[in-house]
Amino acid sequence: MAIEQMKYVSILGPVELFQEFVLKHIINSNVQLEPAHKTLNMPGLIPFDDDTSLDNLKKRMRILNEKFHVDVKRYDEQALEREVLSPMEPHVIESYITELEERIIEHRKRIEHLKADIQEREKIISQLMPIAGLKVDIDEMFHFAFMKFRFGYLPRENFMKQKEYLVDMDVVTVPVAEENETLWLAYFMPDSVSPVIDNVFSALGFTRVRISDKVKGTPESSIEALKGEIQVLQSRIDEEEKAFSRYLEEKKSNFDKYYQRVLYLSKVHEVKKFSSHTQGTFFLVGWIPLKDYKTFAAKLETMREIMLSSEDPDCVAKVTPPTVMKNKSIFKPFESLVTMYGLPSPTEMDPTPLLTLTYILMFGFMFGDVGQGAIIALIGLYLYKARKSALGGVMFYVGISSTIFGFVYGSVFGSEEIIQPIWISPLHGKDTINTLLYLAVGYGVLVNLVAIIANMINNTRMRRWGKLLFDKNGLAGLLFYGGLALVAGLSLLKGELLFSGLVLVVVIILPTLMIFFKEPLEHLVMKKRPIFPNEKGIFIVESFFELFETLLSFFSGTVSFARVGAFALNHAGLSLAVWTLYHMMEGIGGLFIVIIGNAITIGLEGLIVGIQCMRLEYYEIFGRFYIGEGREFKPVRVTED
């Protein structure tokens, strides 16, 4: 339960070996790089030139991969030698890719043409249908001496908006069919004006289809012939599709090989951006988790040309190490909730375990039900295992907690008649409501105290002695808040108010003074001068309000936890409503009500309770001690990003 220890490594080696070294030992080796020229202070260090030669290729291959669906592979050293490091003319891949692209475009064009041909014939058929009975040769119809005839299609909107103008012109239009905003029509006009009218129609986006080229003979025989042609075209589409998928299958293995090569090599170029070099030596600096460091160092040990030096993070002033959280598998899903707030910085405690325990406990307390909890847990388990969703893991654990609390409250799917409560049933019995609320507040006091202690641990780690002692979430706060809690608790137990001069001094006066004079006291401890700020008046006013705010926030932060109890009652109330409705409706209807009611309870209240828990975690608990300004660990990996 903590944050993974990091090791700061610097690597030197001969420039000739850069590519091979990076491929074998940096990429996919869990190393995060830092820009060398920023971190190393050395004269004569120059960055590598940007190499963007592969960028274009990579982009094109990524688009092609939408057809091939090739995955990124991880290579071992032999495979790297074979697949990536073996020499290859750069234009080989380029021309291979170009060929593929052209074939794909070709394919698309062919299919489109075939489809357009089919559509054309279908439209001609519908054009011929009305005159199917005529026993006239079509060819003759289209070659009148004084009339011109055109058939084709255009966007419907273009036609509609110019309709009024067309009325004035010497042209007769006959719409034939309409689909998806495309209008198929025929128009007739006198031969003498045909060039002008044709121009007008082409301005409207008219695409002409030449019927006379397609059909011969009488309408009836033409329609038959066209139908036959459509069938032929359809089978040609199928053939083309088959040929194309065969082609892709054929090309896949080579494409795969080239794709991996380009991905790996362009990653090397990316690494180059972080690296710097002198005449003959390259420099790389970065972070590696301590657990991987040993094998990494051992591997590099065997290479004579490569020099590795390492430092602990404490000794590195310029850059802060990235954060990798390391938690037991129970806590793992809850890391996502922490990350949502912010990653812990290396000097901080990882709050995941604390969050996990408090979250699970609160959820069950607020939403205790054997049946509903089990359902949430099952859904969570499915999401976690099948979908690898961290939220699923969270749901699984809170579901179990809910089930356990269900036994405590004696609630199964909202019904309180099936099992006896181990402890109390929230809405039954005399003082249960108050008991629950008090208990929730008591729980809040405990959590607040833990948060204050966590803050003190963090301050110790960061060597902020002033904050450790005098902050409202430091020793001063602990004395005040913890002291009051203790006094209140003991008084309740004994049944009389335990109060004395000593208690007054230790619990109230001392902490108040500490918080009031926090700034000068901190300066004193941290040896900052001047101890008192120059503007005394402002200082006093500010300190007073800060003190006031502190007291208020302790109070509100505690009462805030009453909601934990309130939601437990709320849950019982909602369940009661569902079962009351059930009793009003007998039989199938009642069953229906119970199912719907439970679904609503799980969906609606599960969500609200989950969110309320988050709110308490982030606002009341994290707010006291957690900063969360860590950096994400981003090792160099070849993945589809």
Binding site: N56, K161, V196, T207
Partner: protein, 351 residues
């Protein structure tokens, strides 16, 4: 009262942005400059362009780069304003943005036609289309010709608008496509403003949109008629059937006018007679001047209406056009006085 609440924030924002626009004295200063670099340096040190120019080395900037930056500045303004609005006004601003998209598309087509389109250029210009989720920008940037590019536009309205005109054997392809885009924009404005805006706002926005339609028709008739001698029927087929202050019959008269004198005479019976006032400046410039004043007036008159964003954006566009005119004037070594003539709204601007 309601509109005061609705437009409070937006109006405040645009008024602040309006206050930062270039003033008369800035322009007076700018026309003195001797080189593009001096212009950039002045803009960088004295005006609101300091933000967008902060990363720029004024001694080493190309005219094209500057134009691109200015365009980005306008896009940024759109984004800024979007943060102050929601709902229908957001949609309205998005619709205004379509104009920028269309201009970018036109530029891309022209460059394709000239055979200069490469990945870097496309990536730059395509930035203006990144509002569309459906578009795969990296893929589009790799297109090698107009057909491939159009294929990539599938899923947007532009694809449907352009498809009928895109076949390779269309001799007037570029013209048809540009025309189709313009018509598409004007028609969309006309049909959507009424749907997305309140009656009062729609009236303001439609007034501007309809003037644009009228002007589009007049310009089209004038150019095709006088310069290119296009057949009357073809001219008619491109007429946008939205008529505002010029009737369809008047437009037909214009189409049948014998020469530019007769054209001017017919136009002088309409509110657009100003287009032919005076000699030494173009019709387009006169229109810009007219519309600039109109926007300025509306911007003041109706602070709590859609005009606060519409007019601001149009005035900002005028400013960008002015800067580009000045740079071109300097580049072609025009005397200061002639450059000033190209600055829109200079005379109606307070110093």
């Amino acid at each position: 009262m309601l509109s005061t609440i609705k437009y409070g924030a937006l109006s405040g924002k645009t008024r602040a942005m309006f206050g930062r626009l270039l003033k008369r004295e800035h322009y007076e200063e700018l026309v003195h400059k001797k080189s593009v670099n001096e212009v950039v340096s002045f803009l960088k040190n004295n005006t609101h362009y300091r933000i967008i120019l902060s990363e720029v080395d004024e001694n080493n900037i190309h005219r094209g780069q500057l134009e691109n930056l200015l365009k980005h500045d306008l896009v940024k303004d759109y984004e800024k304003l979007l943060r102050f609005t929601h709902g229908d006004i957001n949609k309205f601003i998005d619709l205004l943005y379509v104009k920028i998209e269309i201009e970018s598309l036109k530029l891309i087509f022209r460059v394709f036609e000239a055979g200069h389109a490469d990945e870097a250029f496309l990536e730059d210009s395509l930035l203006f289309l990144s509002n569309h989720d459906k578009l795969n920008i990296p893929k589009l940037a790799l297109s090698r010709n107009i057909e491939e590019f159009l294929q990539g536009l599938k899923g947007t309205d532009y694809y449907d608008v352009l498809k009928p005109f895109s076949s390779e054997d269309n001799k007037r392809r570029l013209f048809s496509m540009e025309m189709a885009l313009d018509l598409y924009y004007l028609r969309t404005e006309d049909s959507l403003f009424k749907k997305m805006l309140s009656p009062k706002d729609a009236a303001i926005a439609l007034d501007f949109a309809h003037i644009e339609c009228d002007i589009f028709n007049i310009f089209w008739v004038y150019r095709s008629k006088i310069f290119y001698k296009v057949d009357a029927e073809v001219i008619k087929s491109y007429i946008l059937p939205i008529f505002h202050k010029i009737k369809r019959s008047t437009l037909e008269e214009l189409i049948n006018a014998k020469d530019s004198e007769e054209f001017a005479a017919i136009l002088s019976r309409t509110p657009y007679r100003f287009l032919f006032d005076g000699q030494d400046i173009s019709m387009e410039h006169r229109y810009s001047e007219f519309i600039y004043r109109l926007h300025k007036k509306k911007f003041r008159q109706d602070p709590f209406s859609v005009s606060c964003v519409l007019s601001f954006l149009r005035m900002k566009e005028v400013e960008l056009a002015n800067i580009i005119s000045i740079i071109e004037g300097i580049r072609y070594k025009l005397p200061e006085e002639s450059i000033k003539k190209y600055i829109i709204g200079l005379n109606s601007m307070n110093s």
